[in-house]
């Protein structure tokens, strides 16, 4: 059969596919953004009704455990007496309006939240980056030398760390390294972001803040890296079973190159996705760990709101956390689509 005949048959076999690179990703991202917007709407609706439809008089819910002065009570009653629909529309048009002030601080809730955001951002970004990088590295090394000593030790350690409540780990670290037990010196501060009286922006101040950041960041990093190490390892082990690695070896590729160019990049995908999808749990970790370390962030704020209970504040924090998770999930979806062409199809 001549090559022209073969070519003709080939095109009849299956039409030449379009280039998916640009167009496919664009449409996919648009679809995901719309989906995220829909989810956001759901979150807003859910948030609104959660507090209004639960059992009990809404007034008592807002004022439980707190003495509000008459003026506030009247304001609150006026607002809650409006028809549900009006309240709903008001809420949807601007969920960030103050509405009711925080009962503990007597200030608009979003003002309060604004004061506490930065410490949390610093703590969580440090912990997320460190845990992702270290966890993935451990996972790769363990997955490749499957069954070896490193693998067994790291898997065992990861499983144990994963089983630990992160706040307990925090308390243990505090008692070991801050209070000092037995021979261990108490060299780390027991809480807060900075020693009182030190200038935040001076060199001493910065070092002091890093010193304060160390233990809480260590706690969260240890807590998170366990899961990343485990997932990366198992994902790599799964990838090592694939046939295309044999093809690569048959082509004369050195084993290390097979690893670097084929196995690891493909195995990395689920783990990186997980880092973003985990934001929900990262947030939970922040709440308890900040409490233990008296770290003045949103987590500590949540704890205080629970103790109140400060319902308006809780509602606002809940909304903020939910939105962060939606955004993080969206980022995860886009990252996956950018890397895995099968998803875009």
């Amino acid at each position: 059969m001549s090559s022209t005949q073969e070519a003709a048959l080939a095109s009849a076999d299956h039409p030449t596919p379009r280039r998916y690179a640009g167009g496919g990703l664009g449409t996919y991202v648009v679809r995901r953004v719309l989906s995220a917007a829909a989810t956001m709407l759901f979150v807003l609706v859910f948030n609104f009704f959660l507090f209004r439809l639960l059992p009990g008089d809404p007034i008592s819910l807002y004022t439980r455990g707190r003495n509000m002065d008459q003026e506030q009570l009247r304001e609150l009653r006026r607002e809650l007496d409006q028809p549900m629909l009006t309240q709903f529309v008001d809420y949807l048009t601007n969920p960030f309006s103050s509405g009711v002030d925080s009962t503990q601080f007597s200030r608009p809730v979003w003002d309060v939240i604004g004061d506490y955001v930065w410490p949390t951002v610093i703590l969580l970004s440090t912990a997320t980056i460190l845990s992702a990088v270290i966890g993935i590295a451990i996972g790769i090394r363990g997955g490749w030398s499957r069954g070896g000593t490193f693998d067994r030790v790291s898997t065992g350690t990861s499983l144990t760390l994963y089983a630990m409540p992160e706040f307990w780990l925090g308390m243990v670290l505090l008692i070991l390294l801050s209070t000092g037990v037995g021979p261990l010196p108490g060299m780390f501060p027991s809480g807060g972001t900075i020693t009182p009286g030190v200038d935040k922006w001076s060199l001493d101040g910065i070092l002091d803040q890093l010193w304060h950041l160390f233990l809480p960041a260590l706690t969260l990093t240890l807590a998170y890296l366990a899961e990343y190490a485990l997932v990366m390892r198992s994902s790599l082990v799964d990838e090592l079973r694939q046939d295309y690695l044999t093809t690569a070896r048959a082509k004369g590729m050195r084993e290390k190159l097979v690893r670097r160019r084929h196995a690891v990049p493909n195995a990395l995908l689920p783990t990186v996705t997980l880092v973003f999808l985990n934001i929900g749990f990262v947030v939970s970790g922040a709440i308890t760990v900040e409490t233990v370390y008296s770290w003045p962030g949103l987590g500590l704020l949540s704890y205080q709101a629970i103790r109140g209970p400060d319902i308006p504040l809780l509602q606002a924090i809940f909304l903020l956390f939910s939105i962060s998770v939606v955004v993080a999930n969206l980022v995860a979806d886009v990252v996956v689509a950018a890397v895995d062409p099968r998803v875009r199809a």
Partner: protein
């Protein structure tokens, strides 16, 4: 072939009814399953550990009388390190930490298992439903699962627990109701995989209704995965209970490991260096969660031999 013989010469007496055959097959597969599981060392260790905790939970009243939990009846020194009468020292009220830890086992295990039952039931129903029913109904269920997955667990649990109030039942409900989406998604994926197999199409053509398909075909194929997932869900439920109790949302009238840690924290055990108060409850949580995780992983290995 004589009319009263079974297939290929088997005497008639040995031919069993379909139900008996199925039971025999099930028994054989269970035996095979156990034989494979037994070879997983980590899984066996996990089971042994779980057994230990189960015994401790059941035997708690025999080992330590309920009086030891009463703050008013405490006889020990406050925050005292381990000594002869108090192997794990005392708490801020003078109670024996060992007694508290053993009794705490009951709450942690109870909440973990009960919440998981709720979560697995809802998750499996929604998962199979969203995987089996196409179009409208399935789409809604799927959307619901995805949306609930987005809401971060702890804030939601905190909100629910704050509003519902702290009691044992509420905690169980809160954890159960907030952790079903993970299972649902897993079950849905498995249902879709099962449903694409040809024999299910045959079942439909032969007239099998929705209920029949879901219970007789999909469920048995989905159950093994659900089982492995259950143990991991219990592990997470116990961690959740510990966290919620630590935050003060647990049942105030019961001792749990989380509430012990909350009390320890509030009483300044850290700065007082009272390690005997902080370590045992946490170690117990780690041990139980680790045990469930090991069992779960061993189950996964048995079900998917490629991983071993």
């Amino acid at each position: 072939m004589t009319p009263d013989a079974g297939p290929a010469g088997v005497p008639a007496a040995a031919v069993r009814s379909p139900r008996a055959l199925r039971r025999a097959r099930q028994r054989a597969s269970v035996r095979r399953f156990w034989a494979t599981y037994r070879r997983q060392r980590a899984g066996m260790a996990g089971l042994a550990l779980l057994g230990l905790f189960l015994v401790a939970a059941l035997a708690a009243p025999l080992l330590f009388s309920a009086d030891e939990l009463e703050v008013t009846k405490a006889t020990g020194e406050v925050l005292a390190p381990p000594s002869k009468g108090y192997p794990l020292g005392t708490d801020e009220a003078g109670r024996s930490v060992l007694a508290l830890v053993v009794w705490g086992t009951r709450v942690s295990l109870l909440v973990g298992v009960a919440a998981t039952v709720i979560s697995m039931t809802i998750g499996t129903l929604v998962g199979i439903g969203s995987g089996h029913f196409g179009g409208w109904a399935g789409g809604i269920l799927e959307r619901l699962t995805d949306w609930f997955l987005v809401i971060p667990f702890l804030p939601l649990a905190i909100v629910l627990a704050t509003v519902l109030g702290s009691s044992l039942l509420n905690i169980i409900v809160v954890i159960g109701v907030t952790s079903w989406p993970g299972t649902a998604r897993l079950v849905r994926a498995q249902t879709l995989a099962v449903e694409s197999r040809p024999y299910l199409e045959r079942a439909r053509v032969l007239g099998g209704g929705h209920w029949h398909q879901m219970t007789r075909h999909v469920l048995p194929n989905v159950m093994p995965l659900v089982l492995a997932n259950t143990t991991l869900t219990v592990a997470i439920a116990i961690l959740s209970e510990t966290t919620l109790s630590f935050l003060g949302l647990g049942d105030p009238f019961r001792v749990s490991w989380g509430s012990m840690l909350d009390n320890a924290f509030a009483a300044g055990a850290i700065s007082a260096g009272a390690w005997w108060y902080l370590l045992p409850p946490g170690l117990c949580v780690v041990a139980v969660v680790l045990a469930f995780t090991l069992v779960g992983r061993a189950l996964e290995n048995v079900l998917d031999p490629g991983r071993r």
